[in-house]
């Protein structure tokens, strides 16, 4: 890799384009760490939000009125308020109560800022996912559900084996959009000092004074990451296609 790093050093010397993340070992290490933190946060939130969506959509069809109302309230609150304020609420407000005293006698937070970011963002994206899966479930023909009932499926079994597999396929395009949004929204973890890519980039451009270069690097990487998500979801969508059923 050395020749490549040297090339970027040369680039700086000849054109003034200062990409320290390539030739400065310290900057490179922290940027790679930031990148990995971002990817970890994205992966965690994607999985958690899809789980929230599947479970929430199941509970939305529950017979218990209380459960239905709770899910409805959860969706409306999380969809109609700013994700950034939600994150601040979790981290600063709830976090101020969730503290334990350590051996030295200092109050340390019980939940780290990374965990709060993961929780907050998953809940935010999860609210949209519940809606998306609900739309998918509603689109499953009534006859199919009745057929499952006639075959003696319990409500849960019918949901897992009949409704969800069909609803999931119908929901995939919308889910795709929402997960792309989620990947982009992970940048707000910056606000609670999670050392993800934007945060690290900010440190680097404060130290090296190379704002335009780092900004462009960030934009390119995020667009590429979103591209990867879109590509993977597209492949998954094609792999799950039932010929003649989903358009």
């Amino acid at each position: 890799m050395e020749p490549l790093w040297d090339w970027f050093r040369e680039l700086h010397a000849s054109t003034g384009i200062k990409l320290t993340i390539f030739y400065d070992a310290f900057d490179r290490a922290r940027f790679v760490n930031g990148f990995l933190t971002s990817v970890r946060l994205m992966a965690l939130c994607i999985v958690a939000s899809v789980v929230i969506g599947v479970v929430g959509a199941w509970w939305q069809g529950s017979r218990l009125r209380f459960l239905r109302a709770a899910i409805a309230a959860y969706i409306e609150v999380f969809r109609n308020t700013p994700p950034l304020v939600q994150l601040y609420f979790f981290y600063f407000a709830l976090g101020s109560y969730l503290r334990v005293t350590n051996d030295v006698g200092l109050a340390v937070p019980l939940v780290s800022n990374f965990s709060w970011a993961a929780i907050g963002l998953s809940l935010y994206a999860g609210a949209f996912n519940v809606e998306i899966f609900r739309a998918g479930i509603e689109a499953v023909p009534r006859e199919t559900v009745e057929a499952a009932e006639a075959l003696g499926y319990s409500r849960l079994r019918a949901y897992i084996h009949v409704i969800l597999p069909l609803a999931f396929r119908i929901s995939l395009p919308a889910l795709n959009n929402n997960l792309v949004n989620l990947v982009k929204t992970t940048t707000i973890a910056y606000a609670i000092a999670v050392p993800e890519m934007l945060y690290v980039a900010n440190q680097i451009w404060s130290d090296e004074l190379n704002v335009p270069e780092m900004m462009n690097v960030l934009l390119v990487i995020y667009v590429a990451l979103v591209g990867v998500v879109v590509y993977l979801m597209g492949r998954w969508e094609r792999a799950m296609r039932i010929p003649g059923y989903t358009p």
Binding site: R68, V77, V85, A93, A139
Partner: protein
């Protein structure tokens, strides 16, 4: 045997989406929405009151005292969202027409711009505008200052532009091709067809997702607090640090959440209602 439909699978009937397949389409449900937030706020105020020492003013009174300041900040949020939406819509309409242009260089470059701004995170775009735009511009001999909130508004307008462009393209594509052919048969030029036949029909289809986008912009405006604009979120932080009372944290943040909820929720309901009424059959 079933009659020949779009599919010949006997068991799996083709699904029909009841709402538009837009990713953010709100649902129509009947539970008490937002009750959670209000209950939580009331609870938090009560808990805070109990925690507050003797002599400290009550949580409720404190919230009330800071309300005018918070309202000022919130007004800036709304102003920013209006401006960003206006700028983004105008630019987005132009970009959207570029996306459906017949000249391929224009189409390709519009596509590139749209994809780029749609896929870049809003916060990164905000940083981009805040850090790379000058703090004042000279037009002729006049110096026009660019305060942080103007730059943030531009930063928010960029993703709006790309999303509106995509809405335009989707709406135009959803118009049945018969409309184009009929216009052609009546000897309309392409420009006339677009202006007199296609776009008027698109307005109806675009309105609900456009309102969704507006709601997203409103909940995106607090991002400007990260880059130092004095809007509601920043002011909430200032209020909390000037009060310096930990029991105020939860009520204050819930109070701010409620402001946004009260503003955005009616928009979401109206969008849902419009979607039902305009449902493309």
């Amino acid at each position: 045997m079933r009659a020949a439909g779009p599919t010949n699978l006997p068991v799996l009937k083709p699904f029909r989406l009841t709402a538009t397949t837009c990713d953010l389409s709100p649902a129509s449900f009947t539970a008490r929405r937002g009750a959670l937030l209000i209950i939580a706020l009331v609870l938090a105020v009560c808990v805070g009151e109990a925690q507050a020492g003797p002599g400290a003013s009550s949580i409720f009174a404190t919230l009330l005292r800071w309300t005018p300041l918070l309202a000022q900040g919130f007004a800036l949020n709304i102003a920013m969202s209006f401006l960003a939406m206006a700028i983004g819509t105008v630019l987005g309409l132009a970009l959207g027409l570029g996306l459906i242009s017949l000249a391929w260089p224009l189409r390709a470059s519009s596509w590139l711009v749209t994809q780029f701004f749609r896929n870049a995170p809003w916060l990164v775009l905000l940083f981009y505008c805040i850090l790379l735009m000058p703090f004042e511009v000279h037009i002729g001999g006049i110096v026009v200052p660019l305060p942080g909130w103007v730059k943030s508004t531009v930063g928010l307008a960029l993703p709006v532009m790309a999303n509106v462009a995509e809405l335009v393209r989707g709406a135009v594509r959803s118009i049945p091709s018969g409309q184009w052919e009929a216009a052609e048969a009546l000897a309309f030029t392409r420009l006339q067809t677009l202006r007199l036949v296609i776009l008027p029909q698109c307005v109806k289809r675009m309105t609900p997702p456009w309102m969704n986008l507006y709601a997203l912009v409103v909940v995106g405006t607090p991002l400007a607090s990260i880059v130092g604009v004095n809007e509601a979120m920043t002011l909430t932080g200032d209020i909390l640090s000037s009060e310096g009372r930990t029991e105020l944290l939860v009520p204050m943040y819930l109070y701010l959440l409620m402001w946004f909820f009260i503003y955005c929720y009616p928009i979401a309901r109206a969008t849902a209602a419009l979607e039902r009424r305009f449902q493309v059959r």
